[in-house]
Each structure stands twice: as C-alpha cells, then as structure tokens.
C-alpha cells in the first residue's frame, strides 16, 4: 500500500512538473474588463479580441481574464492578482483602470502592461485607444438626415474625455448637415445597466427625440427604439438582431488585430510601451452596414467614412466652444493631447457638462 502511494505521488509530481514546464513555454496574456463579457457591447468586443489572439497564436499563448472589475480600489487587486499568477502581458480595458495600472506596473517591472483609453504611461505600461469619435461624426450626420423632429436623444455614462469627445464629434457631424440640430443628453452614471438605459431612452423619446444615440454598453436603448418604431445606433458591436428595423448603423470595435500584434511582440521580445490611437483606417473602428435609411443618406455616410480613411479629422476648424469662444481656426486640426483630455463642449451642445 505504501509503495503504491509513493508511486502515485511520484507520478503526480512528475505530471505537475511537466505541466509547469509546458506552461513556462507558453506566454500568459491577461485581460481585465469592467463589464461582463456577456454585455454584447464594449467588454464583449474586447473579449472577442482575446479569442482572436488565442485563435491566431494557438498553443504559444495562454489567456486569462477578469470581468466585472469595478473602477476603483478593486482594480488594484485585480491587476496585482494577474501579475502574481504569472501573466506576462496584461491589458486593462477601461479608462478607470488608469491609476491602478500605473501603480501595479511599478510593482511588477517584468510584466508588460497595456491600458486602453487612458493617457498615463510608464516604462512597462503602454497605452492604446480607438478613434471612436470618427464613427460618431458619421452617426451625427446620419441622425441629422434621418430625424424628423430635429432632436436626438443621447444617453451617456460618465463625463470623461472619451465620452465628451464623442458628444462633440456627434454634434459637429449633425451640424454639418443641419446647423440647428439639437441633442438632449441624459447621464445615467453607469456603463452598464440595461434597465436604466431603457428608462433613459423612453424619457428621451417621450420628450420629442426620435433618434437615440448611446455611450453606454447594452442593447436596451435600441430595443426601446424598435418597440416605438423609431431609430437609433448600436454601440460597440453590431446590434442589428435586437433592432432589425431601428438600427441605422453601429460603431463596432475590433481589437483583434491590435491584440494579436502586441502579444506577438511580447513573444518575440520586441514589445515596447506604445501610444497608439487607431481609427477607421486601421480597422480598429468599423461601421456596421448602413441600414434602414434612404440611399442618399447611405451615400453621404460612405463618403464621410472614405474622407476619414483618407486622413481627414472631424475636429478640423473652424470650431467654437459651447460659450462661443473660438477653439480651432479655419483648417486647424485638434491635436491628440487636447482630444484625449477634452473637458468642454463645442457650440450647439445643449447640456451643462458635469464637473
């Protein structure tokens, strides 16, 4: 009996050794999401990118993720845990992970960190972002053409630069078609709460908006639009299944190519902290098929998309701030730093920015 036990234990030890040896050859890449991967929106798209990495790099990598990590002290623990568990490259995918990631990156100099949508970097912390505002300009143009009441409802989460930039870009697009276009803005103070988002959509429609735009992550607002026979835009992923008659288009995030590139670099040992901001032309921001609109509106949207791919920036002057003071001169293009720290509205936005 004793012999058998010893034999078993040796076998188990050998097995676990083999397992660690194998694990050491693999690079462990990890992700931290603020929402559930089942949100079918922002976090879902990041996770699709993770799956792309698994598909592309096969048995050279091992991936892991933590979902539903709230943006606060909890995030510190999440990053630290992953770093301790042997993750060699860690992607933090939400703006609110910025400070926690900076802190944890300092503690683990051998781990490579990447942070999405923020602006702080370190020797082992790179940042990446997508130019969603390019897509939002197109949404604005479509909204202005499709709306009968001349008012859009805009559901937003938190007053961070990313969101403010989106509102501004949307309004610039809308005003380029209809100068007196209005947007009613509702802050729901959450990235993800289908019920609240649906309530906000109902409130906006009840007050005369007939197009819904959102910078929150669930499909609920579009479903309300579908029920009421009105229109709107999807968010982060193509939500046409939820609103076959209501979705005009959707800004689709495609992180796959970027993640594959970065993990490959980590494998080759060529990884360096970067600062990239990918747009429509890089394929990181995609527009879902333009549907439920007349051909001329579709043509306009496609023309704008092409113009952006060719290098035009929606934040090209002349643009005035909300109070009328000039911001960009004729032909002047906003620099990335200003956009990434944007904390003011452009002219025509009908809301007071929460500070």
């Amino acid at each position: 009996m004793k012999k058998l036990l010893i034999a078993l234990m040796t076998a188990a030890a050998a097995l676990s050794l083999a397992a660690t040896a194998e694990a050491q050859e693999k690079l462990k890449a990890c992700w931290v999401y603020t929402g559930p991967i089942g949100d079918f929106g922002y976090s879902y798209q990041h996770d699709q990118g993770r799956l792309d990495v698994e598909k592309a790099l096969g048995d050279k990598v091992e991936t892991a993720y933590l979902e539903n990590v709230s943006e606060g002290p909890d995030a510190d623990r999440a990053f630290e845990r992953l770093a301790r568990e042997g993750c060699k490259i860690i992607f933090g995918t939400s703006f609110g992970f910025m400070d926690p990631e900076v802190k944890v990156a300092k503690k683990f100099p051998d781990v490579m960190f990447e942070h999405a949508t923020g602006y702080k970097t370190a020797e082992n912390l790179g940042i990446y972002n997508a130019r969603f505002y390019e897509g939002r300009y197109i949404l604005g143009q479509i909204a202005a053409r499709q709306s009968k009441s001349g008012v859009a409802g805009y559901i937003v989460s938190f007053p961070i630069p990313e969101v403010v930039m989106g509102i501004n870009s949307f309004m610039l697009g809308a005003q380029s078609v209809k100068p007196d276009f209005k947007a009613k803005i509702v802050w729901v103070n959450s990235w993800f709460d289908p019920g609240k988002e649906a309530d906000a959509a109902k409130a906006l429609f009840d007050q005369g908006a007939d197009i819904i735009v959102q910078h929150t992550d669930s499909t609920a607002p579009l479903q309300v639009a579908e029920e009421r026979g009105l229109q709107g835009f999807g968010q982060s992923s193509d939500m046409i299944k939820f609103a076959p008659k209501a979705q005009l288009t959707s800004i689709v995030d495609d992180w796959g190519p970027y993640y594959i590139g970065r993990v490959k670099a980590a494998l080759d040992g060529t990884w360096k902290p970067g600062n990239v901001w990918l747009g429509i032309k890089d394929g990181a921001v995609k527009m879902a098929p333009y549907t439920n609109m007349p051909d001329d509106v579709k043509a306009m949207a496609e023309a704008t998309e092409k113009k952006i791919v060719d290098g035009w920036n929606p934040f090209t002057g002349p643009i005035a701030k909300q109070d009328g003071t000039p911001w960009l001169k004729d032909g002047e293009v906003a620099d990335d730093a200003t956009l990434l720290g944007m904390n003011f509205y452009v002219k025509g936005v009908d809301d007071k920015l929460p500070q």
Partner: protein, 306 residues
Amino acid sequence: MDITVNILLTIATAATPLLLAAIGELVVERSGVLNLGVEGMMIMGAVGGFGAGYLTGSPWIGLLAAIALGAVFSLLFAVMTLSLATNQVATGLSLTLLGLGLSGMMGTSFVGQPGARLPNLDIPGLTAIPVIGRLLFGQDPIFYISIALTAAVMWFLFKTRTGLTLRSIGDSHTSAHALGIQVIRYRYLAVIFGGACAGLAGGHLSLVYTPQWVENMTAGRGWIALALVVFASWRPWRVLAGAYIFGAVWIGQLHAQAFGIPVPSQLLSSLPYLATIVVLVLISRNKRLTMMNTPASLGQPFVPDR
C-alpha cells in the same frame, strides 16, 4: 396628456421588479429569516425566464420558469439556514454571489440573442379608452400580478390566522415552538415564497423591462428591494409606496435631465435613493409602531430542542 401617460407607464415598469422582490422578502423577514440573497435569486429568475422563453418561444413558459428557478434557488438557502442552522447573513450573501456567477455561466449561449417579450394586456374597448385605458388595462401582466400580490400579502399577514402564526414565529420562534407551531416548516414556505417572488421580479427584467439576457442585468435591484423592506418597516403598503416613489423619482430625474434642468446629473441620480429613504423614514416616524412591526427574532438561527 400623452407624455404624462407615458411617464406613468414607465414608472410602473421601473417599480414592478422592486415591488415584487421586496414583497417576497417582506414575508420572509416577517417569519424571522433574513435572506440577503435577493439579488442572486432575482438574476436566476432573469436567466431562467429568458432561457425558457427563448428556447420554447413562449414568454409565458419563461414566466413560469422564472418563478420556478427563483423558488428552487431559495430552497438552497432554506436547507442551509433552516435545516443546518448556518449563519443567515453569510449564507444570503453567498447565495447572491453564487447566483450572479451561476446565471452568467448558464446564460453564455443566450448572450446577443433577442428574446420573447410578454405582451401587454389588450382588452378590446377598454384599453382604447383615452388616458386611463392604457394605465388600467394596457400594461404587462406582471404589473397586475405585483399589485394583486401586494394586496394578497397584506390580507394574508394581517387578516388570516396563518398570517398571524407566521408573524408570531418572526417575533419569537421559541414561544411559537413551545406552542407546538412547526417553526421550520413555516419558514421553509416563507423562504420559498420569497424566492418565487424574486424569481418573478427577475423574469420581469428579462421578459418585459429589457427582453434580453445580459450578465448582471439586475444591476443591484435586489439590494434596493432589501432596503425598501427595512425602510418600509415591514408593512406591505409602504413597500408599495416605496417602490413607486423610487420609480417616480428615478424616471423624473431622467426627464429633468432630458429637459435640460441645470442641476448636476450626479445629484439627480442619487435623488431616488435619498427621496425614498426620507419619505419612508417620515411615514414610519412612530417609534412604537415601528418597534411593533420589527420581527424580533429576525436573523437568529432556530435550533429546536429535541
């Protein structure tokens, strides 16, 4: 006029899941058991309701599944706390955590799938009456269930002998036991009733409110329901009032924002919580009455002598 009706309908939709979960928990707490697993039972109801509705194509089957799943899930809590006398607070919290995780796992294949919505009531002739037609005869079936259930619970607790027995167990399980009352059996039934109500509330979310499945879609509503029960000092009609005040202020603040009222949105967002607490504290100012309503053996495990 149309906008007023629309707003009232939206308020009812927002209040219904809170009311259902809270009225169920009220009965549980009246029997002396504190189940903090409301959020977990609710999300199980949501995933079960959506799943059954999606797979069978019938939201009605979804509705039944939501109730059943909530009840079955609460049974787990009942066995742990009542038969094995575990700590109710800890068991309730773990029920919530388990529910959130388990529902996410069960629902993986439902993500991104549009589901079936429970149809609104439509009575020819009545629903078409201007203004009151849609309010009284044109809402979703769960709304009517929630109102009827509140009335039924009020009647049961304060007008029936069984209700009196249940309340006496909540006040002193030892005395009740000494009188020969089957304390554990009563509590089992109360906990299962609470689970069924929470499951139904979850079903409302995934079959009416936002007909879809997404992880964490309850988004803390179970906790609001729990708080409502306490602030309503364990009175059914106050729970009803609390749920509707919360819904009204919540919808009202969204309208205020859309209207462009220059008040910080963070303040507006916190208003529903503040307003509900203030109002419920005001209506339960009578200290003696509140003391009388508080189940004295709430949260204490009961192990009968053998």
